[in-house]
């Protein structure tokens, strides 16, 4: 029997940006980052991507194939960019669940959607992507936009998403990825490690969170690796679309 007073040296570690941390601490550290940036999250998205994040999300909506009456789960939905558009597409007979592990982000998302008059068919749930609190075969579409890289056990999260999807349902993973050209990659590195923390410092007075953002993007699996992970989790017909030279990729998989 192990002594609970001793630190558990056998606990597996994971990455938090370029740091290695015990797995149990990653979620807390990610939560601290998002608590810190929640209030100015949208503004920072616009500044750092030059508004491109709106086009990436727009393309995600186009590939979702959502129809009236569908049930959609938007994991790590943050400030509700996707949920707002899904709410319109599913109509009053459908349902959109905006889920986020972070209470601050969820609150910002809920307030923002209510301010825009989006209500009635949207529910807000604080949930961990690895242990989704929904029944099996429940959703027609599951999306996770810029959230998977913050999940500690990505394989568990993908399996959990597969479980809650109906057979024939679609998972869409929108995430930063690896630029397809090495020249673009170098320019993107310079931008990420010089400009992003500086912008974070100037706008949110928090350079560290944006340094973590840049580092976490580099630690995230590239296009082919993520595709393989989705196939291993049990998804069928997995494809991906590179956007903005591969800086962002949209993966889509179907539950068989």
């Amino acid at each position: 029997m192990s002594d609970p007073r001793k630190p558990d040296s056998a606990e597996p570690s994971t990455h938090f940006g370029y740091q290695s941390v015990p797995e149990s601490q990653k979620a807390q550290k990610v939560a601290e980052v998002f608590h810190s940036v929640a209030a100015k999250y949208d503004l920072m998205n616009d500044v750092l991507s030059g508004g491109m994040h709106r086009l990436w999300k727009r393309f995600t909506i186009e590939l979702s194939g959502v129809r009236p009456g569908n049930r959609v789960l938007d994991i790590a939905g943050g400030t509700g960019d996707l949920a707002r558009q899904f709410s319109r597409l599913v109509g009053p007979s459908g349902e959109v669940v905006l889920a986020d592990i972070n209470a601050s982000m969820l609150k910002v998302g809920r307030d923002r959607l209510l301010d825009k008059g989006v209500a009635g068919n949207v529910k807000f749930v604080q949930a961990d992507a690895e242990k989704l609190p929904f029944p099996d075969n429940h959703f027609d579409v599951v999306t996770i936009a810029f959230g998977l890289r913050n999940v500690t056990h990505k394989e568990d999260a993908l399996r959990s998403m597969l479980r809650v999807l109906k057979p024939g349902g679609r998972l869409l993973v929108l995430e930063f990825s690896k630029p397809s050209s090495s020249l673009l990659g170098k320019a993107y590195d310079a931008y990420s490690f010089a400009f992003m923390p500086l912008a974070g410092k100037l706008i949110t007075n928090d350079a560290e969170s944006y340094r973590y953002l840049a580092e976490s993007i580099r630690m995230h699996p590239d296009q082919e690796t993520l595709k393989g992970m989705m196939v291993d989790a049990g998804f069928d017909l997995v494809t991906y679309h590179n956007m903005t030279g591969g800086i962002v990729a949209l993966h889509r998989g179907i539950k068989p």
Binding site: R58, F59, S64, R67, R88, L89
Partner: protein, 205 residues
């Protein structure tokens, strides 16, 4: 991404224009959930229109099947966009409709009935008096331009048909077409008669 950005820009502008008509958005809301695909033959281009309470959503891709698909060459689609009588264009022979055409006809009717309140939009910027003062000369110029264009069209048609004799006049052309139709009917009758006679003749070796 470029197409997506372009469509996003067009969509924003189009929806601002649609908002100038008081009845357009409520009528579009009735079509919420419908997906219309516009398939342009040359150049090859596919566009999806999704009407809703906020206006029209334009998309270059749409994973769900379309309720109605309109296939037409670019010239017809251009006519559809600019002509007031849109239903006449939809009945042209090179226009193909597939699926539930009612939603497309409803959308065409909404766009056909647009009455944009430019004066109201100007009033937001200039105030009611300023809007009237600015709109009056614009209305006058618009009416003068429209009258001049109609007059030019008539004069040009008269000149081409009567003076230069480059083209046939409308009535003359209609008379010729009627004669051609008569001739075609007579030819059909003659063909049928000759076939009947041929059948009556005894078969020869």
């Amino acid at each position: 991404m470029l197409t997506t950005a372009l469509l996003a820009g067009v969509e924003a502008g189009l929806n601002r224009v649609l908002a100038l008509d008081a009845s357009a958005l409520p009528r579009l809301a009735a079509l919420e959930g419908r997906v219309l695909a516009i398939d342009c033959a040359a150049p090859a281009l596919r566009l999806y229109l999704l009407p809703g309470a906020d206006g029209l959503r334009l998309a270059g891709h749409w994973a769900a099947p379309a309720d109605c698909t309109l296939r037409a060459p670019a010239s017809r689609l251009l006519q559809l966009a600019v002509r007031r009588d849109k239903t006449a264009v939809l009945h042209a022979p090179d226009v193909e409709l597939e699926g539930n055409s009612a939603c497309l006809l409803d959308l065409a009717a909404i766009l056909q009935d647009l009455e944009l309140d430019w004066e109201g939009a100007l009033a937001d910027w200039l105030g009611p008096l300023g809007a009237v003062a600015a709109a009056r000369p614009l209305h006058g110029a618009g009416a003068w331009g429209s009258d001049s264009l109609a007059s030019l069209r008539l004069n040009l048609a008269d000149w081409l048909a009567e003076e230069a004799r480059t083209l046939l006049g409308r009535r003359e052309a209609e008379a010729r077409f009627a004669e051609l139709d008569e001739l075609k009917l007579a030819l059909d009758r003659l063909e049928a008669r000759s076939e009947r006679l041929a059948r009556r003749l005894p078969e020869t070796d």
